[in-house]
């Protein structure tokens, strides 16, 4: 059984997580993707109040599909995290402790995760119908005009994740790729 981590994240949990470890997350997390990140960072630059708490919180890069009548939320898998890299440092500086998405982060973001003691988790992209089953409630907090890109508060229960980048510099993608690579690094060397 994967261990359960509670959101928001506390310092001890953050320090204990290691790249490659599978966990399930339970608690409140916040959905925000491209357009919402742009607005949040612009609001921070102008010194405006933000529509969500940041300290210790977890941000999930997701733009859910519409919910079927009677459902809490539509399919809700992760989107590509790298697009949020340009907006991530100011959020980490304000205490955001966890990020959920899929795909690689920039070196700058990886270094900031170590510096600010935060963790980047991967959810399985494309497993969106199953992931939505682990979301117990969904509420729009801000930017409803952005439709699927609005900021949402989500309550998740046993939401399955894998630690990709931990706060000690570990990187699950790089480690896994090297373990199964059998081309002698041909592609990498040629660059």
């Amino acid at each position: 059984m994967a261990r359960t981590v509670e959101a928001p994240l506390d310092e001890a949990t953050i320090k204990s997580l290691r790249a490659g470890e599978r966990v399930v997350m339970t608690g409140k997390i916040y959905a925000a993707r491209d357009a919402a990140h742009k607005r949040l960072v612009e609001a921070m630059q102008k010194g405006e109040a933000l529509p969500l708490p940041l300290s210790g919180q977890v941000i999930y890069y997701v733009g859910p599909a519409p919910a079927k009548p009677g459902s809490v939320i539509g399919p809700a898998g992760p989107t590509t995290s790298g697009r949020m890299d340009p907006y991530t440092l100011p959020l980490l500086e304000r205490g955001v402790a966890g990020l959920i998405g899929k795909g690689s982060r920039s070196e700058e973001v990886k270094r900031a995760l170590v510096r600010h003691r935060a963790v980047y988790f991967g959810a399985v992209g494309g497993a969106s119908a199953l992931l939505a089953r682990q979301i117990r409630s969904s509420r729009i907090l801000a930017y409803p005009d952005l439709l699927s890109e609005a900021v949402r508060e989500l309550e998740v229960e046993e939401f399955p994740l894998i630690v990709i980048n931990d706060c000690h510099g570990g990187d699950a993608y790089l480690a896994a790729r090297e373990a199964y690579r059998s081309d002698g690094g041909r592609s990498q060397r040629s660059r």
Partner: protein, 278 residues
């Protein structure tokens, strides 16, 4: 001459897009079941298993397999003896897209710089081809853009050769890494010009997994590329493994003596693809 009512086209294409959002093609599911056996990484096996479970659950609940229900790309082959009645065919196809996406995610902005959501997932991208006869064949791709974003096009000179092209494909896959949601379907266009090489790569994604090019030298290129890609170690979801791609489909086009264009169009592990004939 055959008359086709555009209202019938609207209804059929709308239903096809709706259905395809929650029902992945059988050739893909079959390839994934084989991949589950071939994958050596336990995490990779789990990812494939999860994606197969997700596909079955989405189908049974009639909910989309992925929240990114994509931008609708329509390939329309119209027989030159077809006469459309009851309205404009292009408008009917946009209406079909609007109908289907009323319950799907609206992922289109009307202007790339202003970035305001169009609110109904239109416009669909429509590609027309006039063919002989009186048939009407429409293929759809609901393309997620996580993988689209990692796709690439390059205008090489001929001296780059086949080896250079192979390196370009590998570099594209390697830099996409986990971002494009592997196991991937890799569409490659070679030849033509800037505009048509991308189209060839996209059309290659319409081919069923397991099909190979009728040209022997191209089929060889496909097989060699698939093997090389699966040696990169990226694996399902980039979590390591020997199944990074399920298929490489290559379409070649005549080109100019001065050029060797290539486009690599990636499809994530949720190929929403379908075809109908009216």
């Amino acid at each position: 001459m055959r008359t086709v009512d555009v209202g019938d086209v609207r209804q059929a294409v709308g239903e096809l897009l709706r259905h395809s959002a929650h029902s992945l093609p059988e050739d893909y599911l079959k390839a994934m079941r084989t991949a589950r056996q071939e994958e050596q990484s336990p995490t990779g096996q789990d990812v494939i298993e999860l994606l197969l479970e997700n596909a079955a659950y989405a189908e049974s609940e009639t909910i989309p397999t992925c929240q990114d229900t994509g931008m609708a790309i329509l390939f329309v082959e119209v027989g030159q003896e077809v006469h459309f009645s009851g309205g404009e065919i292009e408008a009917a196809l946009q209406d079909a897209t609007r109908d289907a996406y009323s319950d799907l995610r609206k992922s289109v902005v009307s202007d790339p710089l202003l970035r305001v959501n169009s609110g109904d997932n239109t416009p669909a991208l429509i590609h027309w081809e006039i063919v002989a006869g009186d048939g009407l064949r429409i293929s759809t791709l609901q393309k997620g853009f996580g993988a689209e974003l990692m796709s690439r096009v390059q205008m090489f000179p001929p001296a780059v050769g086949e080896e250079g092209l192979q390196q370009f494909v590998l570099d594209t896959i390697e830099s996409a890494g986990p971002n494009a949601c592997p196991p991937l379907i890799v569409g490659v266009g070679i030849g033509g010009s800037l505009d048509t090489v991308g189209m060839a790569a996209k059309k290659a994604l319409l081919r069923p997994i397991g099909s190979q090019s009728p040209e022997q030298h191209v089929a060889k290129f496909e097989a060699e590329m698939l093997e090389a890609i699966n040696r990169l170690g990226i694996g399902p979801q980039g979590l390591g493994g020997v199944v990074t791609a399920l298929a490489v489909h290559v379409e070649v086009l005549a080109t100019h003596i001065a050029a060797l264009p290539i486009a690599v169009n990636l499809n994530c592990s949720a190929p929403r693809r379908a075809t109908l004939e009216l």
